[in-house]
């Protein structure tokens, strides 16, 4: 992973069209400003993870799988 140190007010660029500015930084949080073309999706990573997980979870589930899920959920954790 490329590591770059920047201060508030400083900027970095990714390719020709994406610009990230450090707007503010505290001990626990960094505020970023992002300039990117409309075709580039910018998401917080956890939203992307959730979106992908939702798409995977949206598949149809048959009755045997439902039985399997129910069984899995009703098994006490100590039974592992």
């Amino acid at each position: 992973m490329l590591v770059i140190r920047r201060r508030p007010g400083e900027t970095l660029v990714i390719g020709d069209q994406i610009e990230i500015e450090i707007l503010d930084a505290t001990a626990s949080q960094v505020k970023l400003g992002i300039r990117a073309p409309k075709c580039v999706t910018v998401l917080r990573k956890e939203i992307q993870v959730t979106r992908d997980q939702n798409r995977a979870a949206a598949q149809e589930t048959s009755a045997p799988e439902l039985d399997r899920l129910k069984k899995a959920l009703l098994t006490p954790i100590s039974g592992l």
Partner: protein
């Protein structure tokens, strides 16, 4: 879309949809006793359905972290976390792939205001819980 009739009281409204399905704003919640604790959520708007389980059935000590924006969307006070069972119903979406173990998404629980039936998928920004939490008894699959 629902083929069986449904009760309006069982409809949950997600004003912003959920990530990946932003236009799915209304879901019918069904709780068939033969599959308890598993419940189903069927979209009224799209051909889309999910299975879910109350978060408490997986982790009795689960600690909610709903952000201010989501609390406002739910119409709940922003100065404290809602209480599951009293203020909100908290569901984890299940993912049951044909191969591989079934998992529950504890990173992004569905949080339903019990009074208004307005709901959000409250995505956590901390890394305290997994989006693919294995189910306790599904290790053999």
């Amino acid at each position: 879309m629902p083929e069986q009739p449904y009760d309006e009281a069982a409809v949950l409204t997600f004003p912003a949809g959920i990530p990946g399905f932003e236009s799915a704003t209304r879901f019918v919640l069904r709780e068939p006793p033969e599959y308890a604790p598993v419940v189903s959520l069927q979209s009224i708007d799209l051909d889309l359905s999910f299975l879910a389980v109350p978060v408490g059935a997986l982790d009795a000590a689960y600690s909610l972290a709903v952000n201010e924006e989501d609390l406002r969307r739910l119409g709940l006070p922003t100065e404290r976390q809602p209480l599951p069972g009293a203020d909100v119903l908290c569901l984890a979406l299940l993912c049951a792939p044909k191969t591989g173990p079934a998992t529950a998404n504890l990173l992004a629980p569905l949080v339903v205001n019990l009074k208004s039936r307005v709901a959000v998928q409250a995505v956590r920004s901390d890394a305290r819980y997994s989006h693919q939490q294995p189910l306790p008894g599904d290790a053999a699959c």
